[in-house]
Amino acid sequence: MTAISGEGLRKDVVLPSGDRLELLRGASLVVEEGEAVAIAGRSGSGKTTLLAVLGLLTSHEAGRLRVKDGDVDGLSDRKRSRLRNEQIGFVFQSYSLIPHLTAAENVALPLLQGQSLRRVEAKRRVGGAMELVGISHRAHSRPRQLSGGEQQRTAIARALVRSPIVVLADEPTGALDTATAEHVLDALVQAAQHDGTALVLVTHDPVVAARADRTLVLEDGLLHAGRDLASV
């Protein structure tokens, strides 16, 4: 079953000079449930913009985007927010944890935004997600008390706590040293596989891309399969 698909996605950005730049010129992809897809490309090629479009964080000018077989084009902000909350998880390069909340409270954040759960159920889900990425022992720590690897694991637990159909990760190991990056990547890939969650990894690191089932290269606003990553 398809987790997320985009067909002919077009997205322009307006530069500070006022000129329009076409970052996506008809990019298409299909990601199946449980599949891990890496998206690679040069800096400024539009990888992050593609992730923003796939994650309903920004709208696209043309093309068709579907999440779990549902067309999302033209949805209201409320419905897009609900889809983000229930079907899409995000892992950001800079962790994006809220500093004054504990790790557990950060993980619980998606559970507080959408349809409310009973306290016991919410606690169970938070515990389960933290257990899955091996961070339960730091549940009551605040982000500044956590190492970079622990913060990113917390962010991964937050992305998975709602059992989304797809997790979108933007350079998830970009801020980590090699050893920590490997452990975090293991946690992310294994957790996604455990839940049967699709994974879209934006990276320019061939080692990270190699952990995905397949890699697409974003070039000239289009996604290409089978490109040599060394040239990126």
């Binding site: 923003a52 964080l57 609900r82 983000r84 909350n85 950001f92 809220i98 998606p110 935004q113």
Partner: protein, 369 residues
């Protein structure tokens, strides 16, 4: 917020204190004074006047007092005849002066009903108690210097708001023992109070008294004696002026909250974007920011109410003049409600723009560091 609560509280407390003081000094609202030419006020004529006033005023729910201040002497029996004893102002009263003015009895009791009692009963104020002696002290009273004194006893100490010694005695008793207290030209002042009747109804009561006592109405000029209404009007005007200042202060507070709110939104923009990214709707973010502002508003309102409450319950009672025998002021809870409403209103006004700004933050920034 504090300014609103304090101005409102001060207005209510000052109103209560001023009204109580005015009711003690001149008369309760509404009190009329009418000087009536009763003729020579003999014991018999006084009984007749009292009977009419009882029927025409007291039976209608009002109160009256016939009051005449005379320059006489009051002192201990062995001193009353001495040349060095100073004159005393003696207030002779019939009816219930304590029904017309707020004259709380601090010790003892009020004068007995209008009848001749021997020894005569006296009331003194706090300064009088200090000069003549307290409750139960035996004295002699001489309402007119050309008639001999008669025996009297202090039966009550009252608070009349005056710091000079005052003595109050029964007019009926004075006339019984010394019939020629008044000359033909003297006439006691008549005070009539009614708590609910309009001015026109009180005029009607006075007309009836004039008719029953066969007094020439052209020689009677009743007029409003208490100044409670005028006092309240002045207080309202002052309060309005202060409220105007408070509203300006509140407007400044709203602008301040708006600026602080916008700065807070800028500072929290990353957090708000993360919340949006994980599914918070614009409405939820709007509510979150507005709730923060309202929480601050309510907290500041509660602090203002606490300060006002402490002022009213702990500070103001120590500032009241004991001679006025005022009750400790009650805290005006309407001030708390007004203050909290102002605080919440200001928070909503000051927080709405930051909340709207927060709800419009571009969620795509979630992916940018």
């Amino acid at each position: 917020m504090l300014s609103i609560v304090l101005i409102y509280t001060a207005g209510a407390v000052v109103r209560d204190i001023f009204v109580a003081t005015e009711e003690q000094k001149d008369g309760r609202a509404v009190t009329f004074e009418a000087t009536m030419p009763f003729g020579v006020l003999s014991q018999q004529r006084t009984r007749q006047v009292i009977a009419v006033l009882e029927r025409r005023v007291v039976a209608q729910g009002g109160a009256y007092a016939l009051v005449s201040s005379v320059a006489g002497r009051v002192g201990h029996p062995e001193l009353i005849g001495s040349a060095g004893l100073p004159d005393a102002t003696i207030t002779l009263i019939a009816g219930r002066l304590d029904g017309v003015r707020r004259l709380p009895v601090l010790r003892g009791r009020w004068l007995s009903a209008d009848k001749a009692i021997y020894p005569a009963q006296l009331l003194v104020n706090q300064a009088g108690a200090g000069l003549y002696g307290g409750l139960g002290t035996s004295l002699e009273i001489q309402p007119t210097l050309h008639q001999p004194p008669y025996e009297a006893r202090i039966v009550g100490v009252i608070a009349d708001g005056d710091t000079t010694p005052n003595v109050y005695a029964s007019l009926t008793t004075a006339l019984a023992f010394r019939p020629v207290v008044f000359s033909s030209g003297d006439a006691p002042d008549l005070f009539i109070h009614h708590p609910t009747a309009p001015d026109s109804a009180i005029h009607g009561l006075i007309d009836n008294v004039e008719t029953d006592l066969s007094v020439d109405p052209t020689q009677v000029e009743p007029h409003r004696y208490d100044r409670v209404a005028q006092l309240l009007a002045n207080l309202r005007a002052t309060q309005r002026a202060f409220l105007g200042v408070a509203v300006i202060a509140l407007a400044v507070a709203v602008i301040g909250m708006l600026n602080i709110g916008l700065a807070s939104v800028r500072e929290r923009s990353r957090e708000l974007v993360i919340r949006r990214a994980v599914g918070a709707t614009r409405a939820r973010v709007f509510g979150l920011v507005l709730l923060s502002a309202v929480t601050i508003g309510v907290l500041s309102g509660l602090v203002a109410v606490a300060i006002a409450l402490a002022s009213v319950l702990l500070v103001i009672p120590h500032l009241l003049d004991p001679a006025r025998a005022l009750n400790d002021p009650a805290f005006p809870w309407s001030a708390a409600i007004a203050g909290l409403a102002a605080a919440i209103g200001a928070a909503v006004l000051g927080g709405a723009v930051p909340a709207f700004t927060a709800s419009r933050i571009d969620v795509a920034y979630a992916l940018r560091d």
